[in-house]
Amino acid sequence: MSVVAAAGCGPGRDEPPYPGPGEKKLNVYIWSEYLPREVIDEFKRRTGIEVHYDLYDSNEPVLEKLQSGVADYDLVVPSDYMVRILVHLKLLRPLDRGKLKNFGNLDPRFLDRQFDPRNAYSLPYVWGTTGYGFNRDRAGRSPDTWAPLFDPANKGQILMLDDMRECFAAALKFQGQSLNSTDPGVLKRAADLLKKQKDLVKTYNSGDYENILAAGDVSYAHGYNGQLAKLAAKEPRKFGFVLPKEGATFWMDSVCIPARARNIEAIYAFLDFILEPEVSAKIVNGISYASANVPARKFIRPEILNDPAIYPSEEALAKCEFIEDIGEATSILDEYWTEIKAQ
């Protein structure tokens, strides 16, 4: 089996795979904790290939490194909007469906999304939603809309993600619009709402929101479902998670092959491996985010499978949308975001 990408390739030059009998290694660039130890060990037991992984905490280094052409990764796991950018910049290798016998395990509802039509380049890895967690003692009735986050009565009790697209998504959905709207009037109304909301927000935070909710600094915490679901599962009497009925963000991290990856056989062996039901279940059980693998459900812990925060119902999902790259309108949003934060 071929090994880690040969060093010294200039951009655009092709070189034969680096020979190396007995050296079996796969380099993955991924979010922390996304690959449980037991999955890697099992893969090594079966194929003798060692999976090495390096970590990142945002999509930007992925883009920069793939663009530079000098990062030698065989697999990356970018977020949805980043997949589209990488495809557009021709930084990904098309998937050879024929080499993936387990592809059929994937739930068709999660395939063929706008950021990668026909899944030419990516496979769903895990997915989730963005909603908010709330403190039951302070919130009174169980909320089910975005309203509490914009209610002046909750001044100083709100946390919002420090993420331009996510905040706009909440505002747009609350106003009944698509979160990928590029209509200037619609965007302006959303921006005005966010400007008014700023006064109510105690803090914007994208990394630590569940802890801030748990510590009691806020009563409502906008955030990704995984961490908030864990908190709610641990202390159900005190905390809950809401996927608002106006709709919310649907996000997905997908696994892709960089265009310059070389270790093709090993890569497909690994991709097929993580498409196996039991393996996919191990990943889900490890990090409490849902996967798109249908037969895996048999092996997922019931508390996770039945948690609506992690596996929401059909109707709850119906109104959710992916964040898509909105082209030029990104600059408009960025100006609004600067204004919101600067006031």
């Binding site: 945002s58 930007e60 883009l63 589209r84 950018i85 557009h88 910049l89 420090d162 993420d163 331009m164 697209r165 700023k198 927000v201 105690k202 803090t203 914007y204 935070n205 630590d208 802890n211 510590a215 009691g216 600094d217 790259d325 082209g327 030029e328 990104t330 600059s331 960025d334 975001w337 600067t338 204004e339 934060k341 600067a342």
Partner: protein, 297 residues
Amino acid sequence: MKRGAPGRAAYLLVLPTWATLGVFFLLPLGILFLVSFGQRATYGGLKPIEDLGLYISSGKFLANYARSFHPIYLQICWRSIWMATVTTVLCLAMSYPIAYYIAVKAPAGRRNLLLGLVVVPFWTSFLIRTYAWMFLLRTEGLVNRALLGAGLVAHPVELLYNNFAVLIGLVYGELPFMILPLFASLEKLDLSLLEASQDLGAGRASTFRRVTVPLTMPGIVAGVILVFVPSLGQFIVSDLLGGAKTILAGNLIQNQFAVARNKPFGAAVAFELTAAVLALLFAYTLYTKRKGQDVLL
């Protein structure tokens, strides 16, 4: 005191730095400088320019620089300068006495130990340290509990997610960068000069102001630069401890590179910041040269 003739020695001494920084710093930045004259393409990246001549003569290539003079960006700039100044002043005030203690008053054998103990806290993870500050400062945190328990306040004080917390975080993080340069300068302070000043009738305050401070000015200036300048580009502390409710120059540039994927504009702002600070530093150098002092690089 500087020797007159340069000799080849000087060039030999600076060669390693010139080579390393020249190749691995100036060149990359040079590329980015060119990028700052470009325009963002739909997916981030650069828009190809059809007619270079027209692009330059029409002044379009300065679009990013022009945009950065928009009032909202100037306001951000001003806020960053203000925050950095306050941080630096507080830092200097806090650091001088302890640097003095370590350099002058502490037992000679203990100096390196005491100095080491100043930096060691910063070899832990910044994130965890900041979480620890949040734990201390939040409404139900330790500080408030202590204040309430001691009866100093009737209600918990808002110590977190505001400018107060940001200042604590910034000053805290910058202390080593002020204490260490001050120490380096104070350590060679000739105490007999201070004694002589007092023998000649100057009081303690006067001696401090007119003997100690001027003698340690190089350390003070070094510390001020090492604290003020990086503080201008700060943003993580204000995000975590300040609740991310303000946007500073650092946030602006970060956003352009990361979220808005508008590298040309981000680069333009970064280079303007650079030009402004360099101008400031060289103005100061000229000022001190005229006075015959020699305190900057």
